[in-house]
């Protein structure tokens, strides 16, 4: 078992034809996702979130760079991964029960029938109903039942909760996280709405224009930033720090910074929320990227645990 769920090194993907970033959907993406993380992949529409997930699922080949999943090439780990695409592809002519049966047949030795059935029953779905007759939210439920029933080590969910009502969203997220906690599953969920993911996740990748702009354990990312408020010229007081964004507040200003040492006296500092950090970065596309140590690609492949002998 490896302690890394996903590792990308200089990953780039170029689709044919010109587009706004010269055809590159992903460019120079490097990060490490530790196993057993619950990771949010956030970013504006078209940032490259889905392309990133599809690479981890082994459905796309990189144009340049590499992506490794559970210590191997994605195509070699397919049975240990579950991937739910944004459009939740299922066979429309099958019934709910037949779809779960398919899950059993396709995942011999792994399939957890009682879990899959419970997810479906929790939504009051008729097992005899055909997929084509289900609403979008009900289809999502069946797709999640298939994915969780597989008992994957890595679960990739592209915009999983978008078409669920608030109650179903809360309940399915609870089931998902409880299973992840018990099995040690790594979960990666993309969304352009942070709200629904902020409390569920402990790791974050912010994607923008095909690059990783922020990556790391959420606690580490929050600890790396400070909201400072004060009066006086910005440049003097905040010069040593990286200023992500600053805005006027009354006669003074409020800035989100990455402090490099103590902040000058007279400036009030506060811990920003994750939302503060994300919004500031979204409003400042030129802010430098930040990968915390937990998200940084390790040089070489030496196992850390080997160092802790005796």
């Amino acid at each position: 078992m490896t302690d890394t769920a996903i590792e990308a090194a200089a990953l780039g993907k170029r689709f044919g034809g010109p587009s706004r970033s010269g055809g590159w959907a992903l460019r120079d993406c490097s990060f490490r996702l530790p196993a057993a993380s619950i990771c949010a992949v956030v970013g504006p529409n078209g940032a490259g979130k889905s392309t990133l997930l599809a690479h981890a699922a082994g459905l796309l080949e990189p144009t340049e760079g590499t992506v490794t999943v559970l210590g191997a090439h994605p195509s070699a780990t397919r049975e240990r991964i579950a991937y739910v695409a944004q459009d939740k592809p299922l066979y429309p002519q099958l019934t709910v029960a037949e779809t779960l049966r398919l899950g059993l047949e396709l995942n011999p030795g792994r399939w957890d029938a009682s879990l899959a059935e419970r997810i479906v029953t929790d939504g009051d779905l008729d097992p005899r109903a055909r997929i084509r007759a289900l609403s979008g939210g009900q289809r999502t439920r069946v797709a999640l039942a298939l994915a969780l029933g597989k008992r994957p080590e890595l679960l990739l969910l592209d915009e999983p909760m978008a078409d669920l009502d608030p109650l179903a969203r809360h309940q399915l997220m609870g089931t998902l996280l409880a299973e992840a906690a018990e099995q040690g599953t790594t979960v990666v969920m993309s969304s352009h709405i942070l709200g629904e993911l902020a409390h569920a996740c402990d790791f974050l990748l912010l994607v923008g224009e095909g690059r990783i702009r922020l990556g790391g354990a959420i606690d580490d990312l929050v600890a790396a930033h400070r909201l400072v408020t004060g009066r006086g010229p910005l440049t003097d007081a905040l010069a040593p720090h990286t200023v992500i964004e600053s805005r006027a507040t009354g006669r003074g200003l409020t800035a989100l910074i990455r402090p490099a040492g103590p902040v000058a006296p007279g400036w009030e500092t506060a811990e920003p929320s994750l939302e503060d950090i994300l919004l500031a970065h979204l409003r400042s596309p030129d802010a430098p990227a930040l990968l915390t140590p937990s998200a940084s690609v390790r040089s070489g492949s030496s196992d850390m645990s080997a160092a802790v002998t005796g």
């Binding site: 530790p34 196993a35 057993a36 993380s37 619950i38 809360h170 309940q171 997220m173 609870g174 089931t175 996280l177 409880a178 992840a180 906690a181 018990e182 040690g184 709200g195 902020a198 409390h199 569920a200 996740c201 402990d202 354990a217 606690d219 580490d220 600890a223 929320s273 915390t292 140590p293 937990s294």
Partner: protein
């Protein structure tokens, strides 16, 4: 069994909400020594929050000596919290101070702001309270606990 309610808009860190609600349950006698806290799985299933957040809250309660984790069994209450010293001299001093503050023309919000700022000053640097500042090491530890 206590049930936690997470207010996503409160601005209070989620793990602190669990810590505070547990303490409140101890003060109100809803939890007594020997009682079991819900498992991380149970909390996660009902609240849809991150499992590590629950473990972090329980570690904080353990650090304060209020609960203990028994391996393979769960987390149990070790001691109760007295009903916030209802008749204590501290309370009457505070009451006297509050009435002086009111007499001197401060309104409720002024007093609350003053009190909050003194609290901040007096309790800011609690030794060992930096549980959320210690970064990556902390998180790796949690992953081990999860299995």
């Amino acid at each position: 069994m206590v049930e936690y309610r997470i207010d996503r808009r409160s601005g209070v860190a989620t793990y602190l909400q669990i810590v505070q609600q547990t303490k409140q349950a101890l003060r109100l006698g809803l939890l007594e020594p020997g009682d079991q806290l819900p498992t991380a799985r149970e909390v996660v299933e009902t609240t849809a929050i991150n499992p590590n957040t629950v473990l972090k809250a329980y570690r904080e309660l353990e650090r304060e000596g209020l609960v203990e984790a028994r391996r393979g069994l769960g987390t149990f209450v070790r001691r109760s919290l007295g009903a916030a010293a209802a008749g204590s001299p501290l309370r009457s001093e505070l009451a006297a101070w509050a009435s002086r503050a009111r007499a001197s023309g401060l309104d409720r919000d002024d007093v609350a702001a003053l009190f909050a700022s003194v609290l901040e000053e007096q309790f800011a640097e609690r030794p060992g309270a930096g549980a959320d500042e210690s970064g990556a090491g902390q998180i790796n530890e949690t992953e081990g606990d999860k299995a």
